[in-house]
């Protein structure tokens, strides 16, 4: 699958919530877009990733 523009291998099927936790993201600090649609915080447990998934994980950075 693709995460933030990089090809990554999905070891096993997992939810967006599990992916964030396993890869060290802070769930309360990021927004997730899966295949072009935002996954709201409350839906991350049920949103499942597959090897065709395209995911963006974004956060705030310093800026004007």
């Amino acid at each position: 699958m693709q995460v933030n523009g990089e090809q990554v291998t999905l070891e096993r099927p997992m939810s967006v919530a599990d992916y964030l936790t396993e890869h060290g993201y802070r769930p309360e600090r990021v927004a997730v877009e899966l295949n072009g649609a935002i996954v709201p915080r409350g839906k991350r447990e049920e949103a499942m990733l597959d090897d065709q998934a395209v995911m963006e994980i974004v956060q705030f950075v310093q800026g004007g």
Partner: protein, 288 residues
């Protein structure tokens, strides 16, 4: 004199300018001038501070002191792909501050809308500063795409604050599209060149029905003060503060300059005469 490198400790030890005396020479409290000001209203949200601060490019540990010295209530930030090892800027912003995400990186209205939606998902507020640019040499905003994005985002309930090239016609169109404020540039982003677009900003201010916030290029407190004297509703600064020798102290200087300019605007500036003097002493009773 260039101050020493700024650290959190040096900030804590930096003396601020003395406060003005609170009593007059005979010891009774000086009466406050009768100035009535209304809060800055952005989409129904009210703010006492008229200074919006960029969060970028300086040590994260300085943000809290800078925000406090600036007296700001609104801080901008950008949205980027997350790195798991990065500190989160949100950890360093004091509680109670309104976050104003920008859409920097967007090249058209659709990309701006996408970024705004993602930003809302992170911070759970509806404020967004629309910023649409095509190149990095001048970073000039695309007014046409900005108007389109403003209309789309306003329909989705965002409090839309568009960064714009100071075209008075575009300012009116942004208002009609649902902008909660307009943010014309003073000069190029990050240039510290000041109010180069002064005359057109004045026209925008004269005709605006929403707050006018001077956004880019303000390089010195005196320029922020001038913008406020002209009737701007607020000033946003970032590079001018971030590139100062002592960042929190410069934030305080901007705060004071903006307050002074606002007070001058509310007071009503004196008339300018050209080509002759106006005597300030009696023109009779001379000793000759």
């Amino acid at each position: 004199m260039i101050p020493n490198p700024v650290t959190e400790e040096s900030v804590a030890n930096t003396p601020l300018p003395p406060q003005p005396a609170v009593t007059n020479p005979v010891g009774t409290a000086a009466p406050m001038p009768n100035v009535t000001d209304t809060p800055l209203n952005l989409g129904g949200h009210e703010f006492e501070s008229r200074f919006i601060l960029g969060s970028g490019r300086y040590d994260l540990n300085l943000i809290k002191a800078t925000v406090e010295h600036a007296g700001t209530q609104i801080v901008t930030m950008a949205l980027r792909r997350a790195q798991t090892t990065e500190n989160s800027v949100l950890d360093y912003i004091p509680k109670g501050i309104t976050l104003l995400p920008n859409t920097s990186g967007a090249r058209n209205a659709e990309e701006a809308v996408r970024i705004a939606r993602l930003a809302r998902e992170v911070c759970q507020t509806d404020f967004v500063k629309v910023e649409i640019e095509h190149e990095t040499k001048y970073l000039l905003p695309d007014n046409a795409e900005t108007i389109r994005a403003t209309e789309m985002l306003a329909k989705e309930g965002f409090v839309v604050m568009p960064y714009m090239f100071p075209d008075p016609i575009a300012a009116r169109q942004l208002e009609e599209a649902g902008a909660a404020a307009v943010m014309p540039l003073g000069s190029l982003i990050g240039s510290n060149m000041g109010l180069r677009m002064r005359d057109f900003i004045q026209i925008i201010i004269a005709n605006a029905n929403v707050p006018v916030i001077i956004d880019a290029g303000i390089g010195r407190p005196s320029q922020a003060c001038e913008a406020m004297e002209m009737g701007a509703d607020a000033v946003m600064a970032y590079t001018a503060v971030a590139s100062a020798g002592n960042i929190p102290l410069m934030a305080k200087a901007f705060k004071d300059a903006i307050a002074a300019g606002r007070a001058a605007y509310l007071s009503g500036l004196g008339k300018v005469t050209e080509g002759h003097a106006v005597p300030s002493s009696p023109t009779t009773g001379y000793l000759h």
